[in-house]
Symmetry: C2
Subunit: 154 residues, 2 copies
Amino acid sequence: MLSVALGKVNSSVVFRLGVLGAMATDLFAARIEAHELKPKHVGLMVVLDAGRASSQLEIAGVMGVAPSLVVALADRLQKLGAIERVRDPADRRRQVLTLTEHGRELLAVCEELAQSADAEFAADLTAAESAVLTGLLDRLAARQGLPSASNDPK
Amino acid sequence: MLSVALGKVNSSVVFRLGVLGAMATDLFAARIEAHELKPKHVGLMVVLDAGRASSQLEIAGVMGVAPSLVVALADRLQKLGAIERVRDPADRRRQVLTLTEHGRELLAVCEELAQSADAEFAADLTAAESAVLTGLLDRLAARQGLPSASNDPK
DNA sequence: TCAAATCATTCAATGCATGAATGATTCGCA
DNA sequence: TGCGAATCATTCATGCATTGAATGATTTGA
C-alpha cells in the first residue's frame, strides 16, 4: 500500500467524479460547439431518443432542471430543425417533443464526437478498463433514474 | 448481449461522466453548504494540502480557473480562518497560501461528509467495485494533471 | 536605471439556471 | 353543467459563478 498522502476528500468518488465530470463536459462542449449545441441540448435529445419522456415537464423531471430551461433548450433544437413540437390532442396544455430525421442525424454526429472525445479523455485506459468504467457509470446512472444504456426502451 | 437501444452518446464515458459529475457535485455541495463552503473551496484546500501549489497563480493553473476566481475563493477561506495569506518575502508580488490548523480540521470534516455522500451515491456498488471505480477515476485524474491520491507529494 | 514582464486584485460583463407571474387548458366536484 | 383549483408551457426578472480587461505593486533584464 504505497498510496499515502492525500486526504479522503480527494479519493472520494463524489468529489473526484465532480471534478472529472466538469472537465469531461468542457471537452465534450468544445467538440459540439460548431453545431451550435451545448451538452444539455444533447442531453435532451438523448432523453427523447430513449423514449423516456415526451412532454416538457416530464423531460424537466428526467433531466433534473427547471421546466423553463427545457423551453429554452427546445427552442434552440426546434430552430435547428432537430425536434418537432406538437400540442397533445388529448391534452392541449402539453407540448409533445419528438426527434426529427435531422435530429437523429445530429444525434449520430454527436455520438461520433463523444467517442472521439472519449479516445482523448480516456487514452490511458485499456479497452477492457474503459468497458469496466462504462459499466460502473451505467450502474450509478441507473440508480439516479437516468436513461440507462442497458435498458431497452422499446 | 442484451443491451441494445440507446445511441453511443449515452454510453460515452465523457458524456456520462459529465452528467453524473454534475449530480455528484450537487450532492456534495448540499453536504458542505452548512459550513459556508462550495466544492471549489474544498478543491482549493485539497490543492494546498497536496502541496501542489502555493502562489495563487499556480493554484489557478492546477484548478483550471481564472486567477481572479482564486482571489474570491481565497477571500472566503481566509475569512473562515481556514487559510493564511502571506506575501512571499523572496518575491513580494506572490501571495503564499497555507492551510491553518483550523483549515486542516475543516478539510477533515469535508472528508467525512464526502464519504457519507459516497455511501449514498454509490450505494449500489460493492466495496470492491467502488475501489475499482476510484482507481480508474484516479488514473484519469492523474492524466489531467490533478493532484492524485496515489501520488505522495512529500 | 528604466522598460517590460509578472502577480494579485478590482470591476464590469457574460451566460446559465432558477423561481415567480401569466395565460391557456383540463379536472374535480357540487 | 358550471366553476374554482390544479396543471402545463411560457415569459420575465433575478441570482450566481466565472471570465477577461484594467489597475497597481513588484521584480527582472538589458
